[in-house]
């Protein structure tokens, strides 16, 4: 599973950790996040994220 970075503010989504406070379980791949997922830091949408190499 790959990490994704928000291109707007630099926040990183780590699928190992998920985002439990938003109801996203650890182990959830970025691709499986809901379409209305937004960056918890700046509110940017899913399409503003890019994969961390």
């Amino acid at each position: 599973m790959k990490k994704y970075v928000c291109d707007v503010c630099g926040w990183v989504y780590d699928p190992e950790e998920g985002l439990p406070e938003e109801g996203i379980d650890p182990g959830t791949p970025f691709e499986d996040l809901p379409d209305d997922f937004v960056c918890p830091e700046c509110g940017a949408g899913k399409d503003e994220f890019s994969v961390v190499d």
Binding site: C9, E41, C42
Partner: protein
């Protein structure tokens, strides 16, 4: 009305004495849009002003140097109060290259026709030499927008910090030590609470980066320039960025026929313990800006509304919508309010507090039409609970 920061570095901005409604921010003291001219072998303008005031900026610059001598215009932040005059400025400065990061260039292209502008796109760590002085750039995403950055001049130990450390404070003098420190910090607090509160994590990161710099002077893009109390201001910012609470209870309410107001005052009576500050705020006698400022360092909050049309009162909803967006963390609270026949006001507030992830100290306090003596006692007890919890959180 220019002012000199260091030899060859001057304030050339605009003082907006009359503005009070700054996109909803109640700027009780007006504000300033700060721009700075740095002259050396090369000359750089740091930021501009809000659009209608470009002429004032041009006049201030012309008093110091010919417009065609400006080699660089640094854009630390693309928001219109600092970049709005760019089209006018760039048109009058044919030799100027606009210096900013890629995100800023993108944002400017969405605001203006930038096809005629020369750009130098920089990243953190890049520099521009003015001869004897070198501008260093540090990107500070989300402090306050994605493209925000600082410009640092190590030779002068001078930081151009854009919105960070700013205040909405119109004045004839330019430096913070020309005013009572408490007043300046209070305005900086109000600015932080209303503009930067959602970005505490990013602010904390930037503050940590600043430890490696040797800063003697901070020139923000609003309000007064810090030169005598830089460390005090850093200390205050560290506390705000961490949501470090004071032993302080906030009671915020709106009321139709006084019942919820009576409950609010009973909560106040109960909360007034030694060593605890309690603030009572009637929403329609206050404003969003003040409420957010008080919330910043409050530990616990009682939020109340009468029930209107099966929900809370509209201004109470407006306050909660605003506060939720500011993402105040680490708070504890409770809801209260009156109702007639249907339910809805206090319950809706309770739900809102849960979505903000505040610790809920008890189920909503409710009174049908008028609070009875028993309910007012319950309010006093709840006030005590808020005060004790506030002391705990502040330790």
């Amino acid at each position: 009305m220019n002012a000199t920061l260091r030899e060859g570095i001057d304030w050339v901005g605009y003082v907006d004495w009359t503005i009070r409604d700054f996109h909803g921010y109640t700027a009780e003291r007006g504000t300033t849009y700060n721009a700075y001219l740095v002259r050396g072998k090369k000359t750089a303008l740091i930021d501009t002003v809000k659009a209608p005031y470009g002429q004032h900026l041009l006049q201030n610059i012309s008093a110091l140097a010919p417009l065609q001598s400006v080699d660089y215009v640094v854009c630390n932040h693309a928001e219109p109060d600092h970049a709005g005059a760019l089209p006018e400025i760039m048109a009058k400065m044919p030799n100027a290259t606009l210096v900013c990061d890629q995100k800023c260039k993108d944002a400017l292209s969405r605001h203006f026709d930038i096809s005629d502008w020369k750009f130098e796109v920089i990243n953190t760590g890049d520099t521009v030499s003015l001869g004897d002085r070198i501008l260093h750039f540090i990107e500070t995403p989300m402090v306050h927008w994605p493209e925000s950055m600082f410009t640092y001049v190590p030779e002068e130990k001078l930081l151009f910090s854009m919105d960070a450390f700013g205040q909405h404070y119109a004045s004839s003098q330019r430096f913070e030590d020309e005013f009572p420190l408490e007043t300046v910090i209070q305005e900086a607090k109000s600015y932080y609470a209303n503009i930067l509160m959602p970005y505490g994590k990013q602010v904390a990161k930037v503050l940590q980066q600043m430890d490696a710099f040797n800063i003697e002077m901070i020139a923000p893009s609003h309000g007064l320039i810090w030169r005598s109390h830089v460390q005090e201001m850093f200390k205050a910012y560290r506390g705000w960025a961490a949501f470090r609470p004071k032993p302080k209870v906030l009671i915020i309410y709106d009321t139709m026929w006084g019942s919820t107001g009576e409950m609010a005052r009973a909560i106040l009576e109960g909360a007034a313990l030694p060593g605890v500050e309690v603030q009572l705020i009637h929403i329609r006698s206050s404003n969003l800006t003040r409420i957010a400022t008080e919330l910043l360092d409050a530990a616990t909050i009682a939020f109340g509304s009468s029930t209107l049309n099966a929900g809370m009162m509209p201004m109470a909803a407006a306050v909660l919508t605003y506060l939720k967006g500011l993402r105040p963390a680490g708070k504890a609270g409770l809801a209260f309010g009156s109702y007639g026949w249907g339910r809805g006001g206090p319950e809706a507030i309770d739900e809102y507090m849960k979505t903000m992830k505040w610790e809920i100290l008890r189920n909503p306090l409710k009174a049908q039409y008028r609070p009875t003596a028993e309910i007012l006692d319950e309010c006093r007890e709840a006030g005590k609970l808020l005060a004790v919890k506030a002391k705990d959180l502040a330790e």
